[in-house]
């Protein structure tokens, strides 16, 4: 059996007394489009930062493409692409300069880097303002550029932290088309998003983290079946498995219905 693209064993991260990520055992097979979900503050970004080398775990192990991250950090980074929370752009460069820079940092030759930069700028429809600095780009343009930079070296795994946040429908369509193309060519994508409809449409597998703990993991069908089985055990009414949306699954797992029990009468 092939090594999973991403696997963690007892991965934990503490910030003082706060346990942000608690004993997470994650397995993402190669070629999966994996959605990593959780409420605000559940530990999604902390996990993705650890998996991409931006944050050190307090304990536990991480393997990317079968390589121990701590021991092979540079080799692992060569195989992955990242769009982190703050996008990691250099505001005083133009889009073309930035992509060229990133390509060369990943070891691409000068000509290859320049060629791919031009192709990516065109694909992402960022060619209208060749002399504009990134600092002057709109948020959506910056997001597209960050995405282009993350894939310029042809990564085997792509980590995306909220890739569709603040992106318009046209740009979102462009990004989705690129991601589908990558999956078709065998890449693995690990994505966090608050927009459950997008995750439901894009991802084949989902992991749900809640209060730092991985509370569910599997394909959408497996999660639906699990929720329905749980509902039957507790004699709760539940829609047929095939009709359960990801939002319903998510809310059942993280107990989101609690919020509706309260009433903020002063809201009018």
């Amino acid at each position: 059996m092939d090594a999973p693209a991403i696997s963690t064993e007892h991965l934990s991260r503490r910030f003082g007394d706060l346990v942000a990520v608690d004993d997470v055992n994650l397995r993402v097979a190669a070629g999966q489009f994996f959605g990593f979900l959780g409420p605000n503050g559940a530990g999604k970004s902390t996990t993705i930062k650890m998996l991409t080398g931006l944050l050190a775990p307090s304990s536990g192990r991480m393997e990317i493409l079968g390589l121990d991250f701590e021991k092979n950090a540079v080799e692992v980074k060569r195989q992955i692409g990242v769009v982190p929370e703050g996008m990691a752009l250099f505001g005083r460069l133009t889009g073309a300069e930035y992509l060229n820079f990133v390509g060369r940092m990943y070891g691409l030759g000068r000509d290859t880097s320049a060629k791919r930069s031009a192709e990516l700028l065109e694909f992402m429809q960022l060619v209208d303002q060749p002399k504009a600095l990134i600092a002057d780009y709109s948020h959506g343009m910056q997001k597209k550029l960050a995405m282009a930079a993350a894939v310029i070296h042809g990564p085997k795994i792509l980590f995306l932290d909220e890739p569709f946040e603040g992106v318009d429908a046209v740009a979102s369509n462009t990004l989705k088309s690129m991601l589908h193309g990558m999956i078709a060519r065998g890449a693995t994508i690990f994505l966090t998003s608050h927009v459950l409809e997008i995750v439901e449409r894009l991802c084949s597998h989902v992991g749900i983290i809640y209060r730092g703990r991985l509370v569910a993991q599997g394909s959408l069908e497996e999660l639906r079946a699990g929720v329905q089985a749980q509902a039957q055990r507790s004699d709760e009414a539940a829609a047929p498995a095939e009709k359960l949306t990801l939002e319903e699954i998510f809310l059942r797992i993280v107990g989101g219905s609690r919020a509706t029990d309260q009433e903020l009468s002063w809201l009018g």
């Binding site: 980074k77 990691a88 073309a96 990133v102 060369r104 600095l133 002057d136 780009y137």
Partner: protein, 564 residues
Amino acid sequence: MAGLNAASASLPSPGSSDQFAAIAQLRWRIFVNSLRTIRGRMEVVSWFFVGLMFAAMGIGGTFGLAVASWFLTSHHNPEWLALVLWGVMLYWQLFPVMATAFTESFDSTNFLRFPIRYRSYFLIRMAYGSLDPTTLIGTLWLVGIAVGVGTADPGLLPWALLLLATFGALNILLARAIFAWIERWLARRKTREILGVVFLLLIVSFQFIGPVIGRYNAHHGPHTRAVAPGVALNLVAAEEFTPPGTVGAALGAASRGNHGVAFGLWALECAYAAVFLWLLDLRLRAQYRGENLSEAAARAPAAALDKAAVREGFALPGFSAPVAAVFEKEFHYLSRSGPMLFNLVMPLVILFIFLLGPSNPARRAHEAGFVTFAFPLGIAYSLLILSNLTFNSFGTEGAGVQFYFAAPVRFRQIMLAKNLMHGLLMAFEFCLLWVMVGLVRRPPSIGLTLATLAGALFAALVNFTVGDWMSLYSPKKFDYAVFGRQRASGTTALAVLGTQLAIIGLCAIVFAVAVHTGRMWLATAILLVFAAVAFGAYLILLDRIDAVAIARREAMIAELCRTQ
């Protein structure tokens, strides 16, 4: 009310005093919370020492100005207080612009998201923007002047208090207006560049005053010189209507019992304050209305990018692709930064002015020592200025620093590329300095040139070693578009000062020994040994820099990615 829900409709209108109290509490909590980290505590210690320096400046100045004011008033020359007040005003207005590291760093525009009235916003900007050391020292100095005037002539004290209070308010308003307008101009690249050139010309023109007067005195005959007092008298007459001159003239009029004139001059002072208030109000109102200073809106449509237009990056023979890529990135950043280009030009301008000097042969003889050592002195000065680049290498990267941690590169490659860029800049600057000394006076001797270059090599390597370390341990986000609301890390400021004092002191001792023994080669040899030791230390640091960077990554990302 239609469209307004019950919750917000029933809200009482927020009181300004409550909002002020909330902001004061916010700032206090930010300060207290900053003490949770070692770096935060170190910052407080650093600022304590900086504070001592300012306290000495404030108290010493107050005492000196009190004595000067007492002297002028008791000798029936209160008009001459204008000179003293010119000094206070120039300090008040120019020091914050030149040393933004020591100014207020809190961005009050963030409060605009709250239901805050314009009047409250204005007062917040005035109150919290005026708590910087410059304002406190300026106010203290004015108190000193009032005490001096009051001691010499108690009858003048009410007038002194009224006029100096107005003068203080005028300075506060003008300083805030200058900051607000400079920030407006710095927000757009084009105006930023124009402002950079204007500022440079201003500095250069100020520096030329001394040499021009010297040459004027030397070259012009008695007839021309006779005209000069007339011009000067006209200037003095005009000066009476400037803000400091008005205060001096009003005090003079009041001391002669001419209270009507004094009142008129005070009214003129108030008019100045009103103009500055209006200028500040223009800017703050624009901010209050939600002005967007982004350059995106001002962009002109440009031609689409041709595939061929993405040119290949720099190639650095003997260096890996990541080193070349970071080197090129640094080049783009430096070439697009007005302040950095300003740093490059300033040493040349200052040295040129000193070399120009007076043409008086007698005074020239005294300057022989300076001319002989102009090259090493110019290099020492340029190192002092250029070291700012190396001590906060990641300051301008912002969130981009995350890329360095996510990319398959070693930090030693990144630091090497940055040091290489900074080293080449220094070498370029040194060549220009050498050529300038040669062209304006005479080329430095070979012995002195070699000794100076050995010293520069030593200084550069020490700067890289300490600077790389400080860049990782004490990074501070730096934004070109924000003026006067960001300051350097206090720890870094102290480290820069300490390092430069140590380097310059050591080199001065070596040069003194060489001059005393008449063997300049001795200085070259000693400084090359120092450079070799510094190079060893630099290599050791480079070897360990990856481990340090990894250990510091969370703190670095947190500091450089912060939005406030």
